[in-house]
């Protein structure tokens, strides 16, 4: 009896969600295209309680992380949520040092290479966290007569300084 009522209300909530999607007119093609796919998972009690109340919410989040789709993971990833990379502040970690060049990884496809600053120069060690202002995620350019872009396999960022922890701030 309990399963029968769950499946009825689940189908009702699914119908509501599909109607809501149709009303929105499928403006965000990827998001809407995925909502029927994610709703096809077996009915959950949590999903039902939210289904009837949150009609205007986007694709319903599936509770278990195993079933999360690639599209929803991508949509909620920091890289996508960040938007254009120009002038965004990020935290990076130094993973390699060659004398004055610091190779910093901030979570993008490529790392960036920055010069060791004069202020607190010796504090920049392998593994230290730094603050960066991004300029570009990948340095590419189409040269004259070329079929494809030439890529430098590097990102571009301005080094702002070390990540100051709360202890250091309290001491100051």
């Amino acid at each position: 009896m309990a399963t029968l009522s769950w499946s009825r209300s689940a189908s009702r909530s699914r119908a509501w969600q599909l109607l809501a999607v149709a009303k929105r007119g499928c403006t965000s093609s990827q998001g809407a295209g995925d909502s029927p796919a994610t709703d096809a998972s077996p009915p959950d009690p949590e999903q039902q309680h939210r289904g009837l109340s949150d009609l205007d919410a986007g694709p319903q989040q599936v509770p278990s992380s195993n079933v999360e789709s690639f599209a929803s993971m991508l949509r909620r990833s920091p890289l996508i949520q960040m938007g254009p990379a120009k002038d965004k502040m990020v935290i990076g970690q130094i993973f390699h040092i060659v004398e004055d060049d610091l190779y910093i990884d901030f979570g993008g496809k490529f790392h960036c290479v920055c010069k060791r600053p004069e202020v607190d120069g010796e504090k920049y060690k392998r593994g230290s966290k730094v603050r960066l202002k991004l300029v570009d995620l990948e340095l590419t350019s189409r040269f004259l007569g070329a079929k494809t872009d030439t890529t430098l396999l590097e990102a571009d960022a301005v080094l702002l300084g070390l990540l100051e922890s709360r202890d250091m701030r309290r001491k100051k």
Binding site: M73, K109, E138, T140, T148, T150, T151
Partner: protein
């Protein structure tokens, strides 16, 4: 049989990995299976290796995922290792368009659902080649990860070539190394481009020599003649570490499985004959 690839006792010049000490008669059976001309004679004591080999191979082919490689890969792992990140739109290769999920602010995003399927096929194939005692050669011209690739090859008992590829390495092997050289049975490309952003010569050469290839193809690579392409990022350290770990695990798993099955069948044969 002139075309038979006998095992050379000397250390192959492909890498400084393990040395092949003894000439194993069972390894020549691999080429026999490929050409399909070797027929095992009946009722002979010396035939046992042939018969066991046939049984082991048919046993492994009964299940589509005999080595259970599906459990090694998960979407979350691939995502966290940044496998979905591609190059900018200007670097895109025409033939990679089917594998691309979309383009976000000029950066291509690779479709990880497709990557999962391709990765599973490639790992399954690698496992079967390792199970049949094939020689696997890791190739990568990406200098940032050459040490990682060489270590991976050494750890799973296979070979790596991460240096400049001289022209006739595969196609002119008889001249370089003398007669009776055994070529690799599988080439795994951790990066299909060379340092001039052109396709690695070994892809074309392996196709010429009928050697299957597995390759990680990024959005600027040509996946055409690679037997088992894996669309994915080949520039981030996390992604490369993931691939190396996966290949190492599948190859060791396949080799262990082979040892297990041999012991099992030998015991069975002894029980039947006694």
């Amino acid at each position: 049989m002139a075309a038979a690839r006998l095992l050379q006792a000397a250390v192959p010049r492909f890498s400084r990995c393990r040395s092949l000490g003894k000439a194993d008669p069972r390894t020549s059976l691999l080429s026999g299976q490929l050409y399909g001309t070797l027929i095992a004679p009946e009722g002979n004591e010396a035939v046992d290796p042939n018969v066991i080999n046939d049984k082991l191979i048919t046993e492994a082919l009964k299940n589509p995922d005999f080595f259970n490689v599906k459990e090694l890969i998960s979407l979350k792992n691939l995502f966290d290792a940044r496998v979905h990140l591609g190059h900018k739109i200007g670097c895109r290769h025409r033939f990679m368009v089917p594998y691309i999920f979309g383009c976000r602010l000029d950066q291509d995003i690779i479709n990880l659902d497709q990557t999962m399927e391709h990765l599973q096929l490639a790992l399954n194939f690698t496992a079967h080649v390792a199970y049949r005692k094939g020689i696997i050669l890791f190739v990568s011209r990406n200098r940032q990860f050459s040490h990682l690739v060489e270590n991976t090859a050494r750890d799973c008992g296979e070979y790596a070539h991460t240096r400049y590829w001289h022209g006739g390495l595969l196609t002119n092997a008889h001249v370089h190394y003398g007669d009776g050289i055994r070529l690799p049975d599988l080439l795994i490309f951790l990066s299909t481009m060379n340092n001039a952003f052109e396709p690695h010569v070994a892809i074309r050469d392996a196709a010429k020599m009928h050697i299957p290839t597995v390759g990680v193809v990024d959005t600027n690579c040509n996946p055409s003649i690679i037997t088992y392409p894996i669309p994915g990022n080949d520039d981030s350290p996390s992604a490369m570490q993931l691939y190396c770990r996966l290949f190492k695990m599948t190859i060791t798993r396949a080799k262990n499985k082979r040892k297990q099955m041999e012991v099992l069948y030998r015991l069975q044969d002894k029980a039947d004959s006694s």
